[in-house]
Structures are given as C-alpha cells and as structure tokens.
C-alpha cells in the first residue's frame, strides 16, 4: 500500500432543496451529505458504512459529480474535479468509475451485453470495432462469465451475473478508482461471497482503488483497509480496519458493531440497543447529530457539534467524549 492519496475530499456537502408553499419555493433542504473530509490512498479500499439514508450513495455520486456537490472540494490525482468543465469531466470518467447497488436497474434492458460493455470504449474512443469486441469478451471472462454471453440481454442473467456485468462495465475502461455503491447488498449470501472475492481479485490484479459503500458492517470490514462510519450525512469515525474493530471510539460505532448479529451461537455480546430512529436529514438535531440516541449523551452534545479530529494515530472521530476537558468527566461516570 502506497501512502500517496489518490483522492482528497475536503468539506464535501450536498444539500437537496425541499420545495413547497404557494409558489413552490424552497422551504428547506435535505442535508444528505453534510461536510465530510477524507482521503483515499492509491490501491486501498476505503469502506463507508452507515444506516439507510445517511448519505452514503449521495457522497459516492457526488465524488464523481453524477450529483453536483453543493460545496467542497474533490481532488483526484492532483486535479480539482470540482472545477472541471463538462468535457474535462467526461474524459475524467475513464479514471473514476462506479458500480451500482441494484443489478436490475443499472443495466439498460434494451441493450445486449456487448453493447453495454462496448459503449464505454466507444465513447472514450478506445479501439476499433474488432478490438472492442475482443475486449468485451476478455473482460467477460475476467469477471467469470463465458464470452459467448455477449449477445445476451440483461434479463437473461441472474442477479449475481448481472452484478458481474456491472463490474465488467466499470472495469473495461481500466479506471484507477471505482466507487462501489453497495455492490453486494442485493445479492444472496452465497452469491455475495462470489462477488466479494471477485472484487478483491480484481483489485489486486489491476491495482484498483475502491471506495466501498455498504450498510453491512461485516462486509465492509471484510474488504476494506480503512473504514469510515457515517451518520446523518457526517463521517463520525474513520480508522483502519483493525483499529476500528478493536477499539471503536464513537458510541455510534460501538452500538453498530454490537448490533450486528453473528452467525455463531457461542459469541455472546453485550448489546447496546439504541433507542428510537435516525432523525430526518432535512431537520437534523442541533449539536452532535447522534445525541438523540447516544447512550452516553452529555449536555454539550446537544448544542455543540463535535469536531472531526484525529484522536489516536490515524484514528479519527467526532465525539465530545474524547475532548480533553470532557475525558475526565466521562471517566468519572
């Protein structure tokens, strides 16, 4: 693993307007992604976990500017993606790809596999007709599908096979970074492991960098080198795989981990069962977004938004528990 950051994200925000009233004016906004900052190193897998609606997909799509970010800076390989023109961005897409969650919705039902996979090559002007055909066959075999399947249509494949096609499409232009937006959550358990293995193999083979989004902590943990935990549009903790598992700092991470059921009747855990639901991102609570459910909530949490800081070496979290002045108070509890 190199230490060169391939992607730097600074203070990324995406707010969706909420319309209403007599003239359809904007009456509010959904703070889907609310000021997140992180780096991704070349060749690493950065996992992003969080519950439904916490802004994972929005963050992933904003990185590729498939959704225009509201604010913030995205620097890919030294180039500022946020400043690029449409055409520059289009070219840039060769290097940054995405795999979607739903293998059914993300393939054009009217195109056969050859067209689906050949089109990215075509629009980036790679190869002539023959070579493109070759490349399609080649990539199909790489993702574990027989090359003859190129003439088939998506509806003739099972979910797992479709996801392989989705991966092949992302891979065929040989990108450097792939955002994987929950690529396995729609799949069956036995298929999920196939795809996870495939993705791991590909990453090593092509020296890819992944941003791997999932809501399943065990999946993320399996594949990632570092993990970011999101809650209500914010990253609440970011650490290496081992650190996070050994010593989750943020109370949310702790309860999330304890809530994951293990398929082993002998593992008995002290469950931290959180109260209530995730608040709405259109009306996030003041202060720490987690304070409404936090088992160790303090007064300061209700008013002051904690800073996202490096608390241990390469272990970031945003929680008042680890502020200098609060630490003692917490310990005393």
């Amino acid at each position: 693993m190199t230490v060169k950051p391939l992607l730097k994200v600074n203070n990324l925000k995406k707010f969706f307007p909420l319309k209403g009233g007599v003239f359809g004016k904007q009456v509010g906004e959904v703070k889907a992604v609310n000021d997140i900052t992180f780096e991704v190193y070349e060749g690493e897998v950065l996992g992003i976990v969080g519950e439904s609606g916490c802004g994972k997909s929005t963050a992933g799509k904003s990185l590729l500017r498939l959704i225009e970010p509201t604010d913030g800076e995205i620097i890919f390989d030294g180039n500022n993606v946020t400043d690029m023109t449409k055409e520059e961005m289009r070219k840039m897409r060769r290097d940054m790809q995405i795999i979607f969650q739903d293998p059914y919705a993300s393939l054009n039902p009217r195109h056969n596999v050859e067209k689906i996979l050949g089109e990215p090559l075509l629009v980036h002007g790679i190869g002539d007709k023959e070579t493109r055909k070759e490349k399609v066959k080649e990539i199909l075999e790489i993702v574990g599908l027989p090359g003859e399947h190129a003439s088939r249509y998506p509806h003739q494949f099972s979910g797992g096979q479709r996801q392989r096609i989705g991966i092949a499409r992302a891979l065929i232009v040989r990108p450097r970074l792939i955002v994987c937006d929950e690529p396995v959550s729609a799949l069956d358990v036995s298929i999920q492991s196939q795809i996870l293995n495939l993705m791991e193999d590909l990453q090593e083979e092509f020296n890819l960098t992944y941003i791997f989004i999932a809501h399943d902590l065990s999946v993320v943990k399996h594949i990632s080198h570092r993990i970011a935990v999101m809650y209500l549009g914010k990253i609440v903790e970011l650490a290496s795989n081992e650190d996070l598992y050994k010593e989750p700092l943020h109370p949310y991470t702790q309860s999330l981990m304890s809530a994951v059921p293990e398929p082993d009747p002998d593992v008995s855990k002290d469950r931290i069962i959180l109260e209530g639901d995730v608040p709405s991102p259109s009306n996030p609570p003041a202060g720490c977004p987690f304070h409404t459910r936090c088992p160790s909530v303090m007064d300061v949490c209700r008013t002051v938004t904690p800073e996202f800081r490096e608390i241990k070496a390469n272990h970031f979290a945003s929680c008042h528990l680890y502020n200098e002045e609060n630490t003692t108070a917490e310990k005393a509890d």
Partner: protein, 343 residues
C-alpha cells in the same frame, strides 16, 4: 417434550405459470412446538415465503395452489389438530389473525396507507372478538405500548407514512399480537431494517416469545439472526428442506454441503479471513432442476448418484435431519460417497 402446535407434513405448493408448473414448495415437513422459535433459512426464491403463506392459506390463487400435504394446527386445549389445508376460506379467516398471525418483510408497504394505525391494529380484533369501538381503541393503545412505541395514544391516531420503518414493523407486530396468537409467522421481519433497528425488533420478538409464550416461525436468510433468536432451524434450498436441527448443531456442525458452504461464505465481523469461501454457480429457481439433488450442480462433493436420484431427508441423530447421500441413517458417512468426496 413440548406439544407441537403446528405441523407441516409433505406440503407441496405449486405455481402454474405460462412457463410451466413451478414447485415452489416441494414436499416440505417440519413442526413447531409450543413456545419455540423455529428459524427457516434459505436464499432468495427457495420457497420460504410461499411456505409461510401456505400455512396461512394466503397463497395467491391463481397461479398458486397447494397440491399436496397437510398443515396441522393444534389449538390450545384441543386434542385433535385441524388440517388447515382442508378448511374453507371462511373457517380460515377465523383462525387467521386470531390464532395464527403473520408479519411481513416490508414494513414500508405492509400497512394500508389510507387507514389510521389504531384502526388497523384492531380491525381484526373487532371482527373476531366483537369488540366495541371504545374497547378497541383502548386495546390498540395497549398493544402499541406492548411493542414499545413511544406516545402510543398519538401514534394510534396517525397514518403509516408518518412512522419510520422500525415503528411500522412494531405496529405490524402489534397487529399480529392483537389476537394473542399461538403461532406468529414472521417472514423476514428485519431484512428491510437497519442493523440498529433490527436489534430492537429482535429484542422485542424475543421478549414476546418469553413473556407471552407465543411460538414463532421466523423466516430469514440471515444466519446471524437465526443464531440470535432461534431454537431450532430448518434450512431450505430450491423448495426443499435440506437440513433441520437445533440452532447450535446447524451453525456449529452443519452436515449438508449447502449449509456448510453457506456458513463458510459469510464474512464475519470477528475474524477477517483473507478470502471467503464461495459456493459456485447460482441459486436455482424451484423447478429448474427436476431430478437428483437440487444442490448437485454447485456441490463440491457431487458424485454420480446425486444427479440421478433424489436424496431422502435422513435422521442423522435426534432432531437433526439432513438430505444428502453423503450420510447414512445414523449420521455416519455413507460408503459410496467416500470415493468422490474430497475434504
């Protein structure tokens, strides 16, 4: 030994579609004892939901039809069990929602969006128990309290869209519990929920099982959930039961190659293997394989017989059943398998 409240024997539910007859549930047998949580696991499309719907008599007809087998339900106090398959729709309605109730996978779509929560909770009750409006309203609040909903009075007067997914699933449970059922069938009750919410719901179900003694048939594809709450487990594959036993046996010492593979292919939080085991191939739809073991095509131990003959469900040891040619009656390893089976 506890009494069996519900017994499914050789149940067969088929769908008659344009592309032929699909045996979604193909000769399935299992039972639930009083106060027990039985898990039914299996991958998507293996027939879990159809099994539960068959018990409830809710298989959409057409195209579905129960073509064979029986569902014996022994009501509390009754000696003779009733065969639910034989009951008329009218008789079934008396049992549904009253003695056997069911909750579904999708809390977001399982409540009628146009009626208030309170009404929906007690609609069945008022029907079955001839309750007055007032009584029903009180009962609704009571039930909402039981499933741990804050502000139950207010919530009873709200519409489903005003609640979150977790709340809705609690409401579904409240509806199911309204008739003090003997059996609660929960079809993937937490699959659509976030882990933190899932933990809440599982906790609630455990409590209801403990406190009310309701037997639960929990359908899921998540072995973690099974480990969490079930006493016994039925593993299904392509419309058939492949293995059955108590939860510890199934998770710790599975015999069927499918169960083994399934457990090994899970990424686990506690240990990070470099590489996951994976079962090759795809999950077959029921009916796509007609002869031989349904798992043969993906099985690492496959040998000739597997493709030609249907294996029987063998009793390996007390309460542990497995459908595989690798084993013989007593749980030993069958002879002919040794030749080809690799470890």
């Amino acid at each position: 030994m506890n009494k069996k409240v519900l017994e499914v024997n050789n149940l067969q539910t088929h769908f008659f579609t344009d592309s032929g007859e699909i045996p979604a549930v193909d000769d399935i047998s299992f039972f639930i004892e009083e106060g027990e949580v039985l898990g039914v696991v299996g991958e998507s499309g293996c027939g879990k939901s159809v099994t539960s719907l068959s018990i409830m008599g809710l298989v959409p007809k057409p195209p579905g039809e129960i073509v064979g087998g029986e569902v014996l339900f022994r009501q509390h106090g009754d000696k003779e069990p009733q065969n639910l398959v034989k009951l008329s729709q009218k008789q079934m309605r008396k049992i549904r929602g009253n003695q056997i109730s069911m909750i579904f996978q999708e809390p977001m779509t399982s409540l009628d969006p146009l009626f208030k929560i309170g009404f929906q909770i007690t609609e069945g009750l008022r029907r079955h128990r001839k309750m007055s409006k007032k009584e029903a309203a009180r009962k609704a609040v009571e039930l909402l309290e039981l499933v741990g909903i804050p502000r139950p009075d207010a919530v009873a007067d709200e519409y489903p869209h005003q609640l979150s997914g977790g709340m809705r699933q609690r409401v579904m449970i409240a509806i199911a519990m309204s008739g003090d059922p003997e059996v609660l069938i929960a079809d993937e009750p937490t699959t659509a929920l976030d882990v933190t919410i899932q933990a809440q719901i599982l906790e609630l179900m455990k409590r209801l099982n403990d406190e009310q003694g309701t037997a639960i048939l929990l359908v899921t594809h998540d072995l973690g959930v099974v480990a969490e709450i079930c006493h016994r487990v039925v593993v299904m594959y392509a419309g058939k039961v492949v293995e059955q036993g108590d939860v510890r046996t199934i998770l710790k010492d599975p015999k069927h190659p499918y169960t083994q593979g399934l457990i090994r292919s899970l990424p686990k939080l506690s240990n990070r293997d470099k590489r996951l085991y994976s079962i090759p191939g795809n999950v077959p739809k029921p009916g796509s394989i007609r002869t031989g073991c349904r798992f043969a095509a993906r099985c690492p131990h496959v040998f000739d017989r597997c493709v030609k003959e249907d294996p029987e469900l063998l009793n390996l040891k007390e309460g542990h059943l497995c459908r595989c040619f690798l084993y013989d009656e007593n749980g030993g390893v069958a002879d002919d398998s040794k030749a080809t089976a690799e470890s």
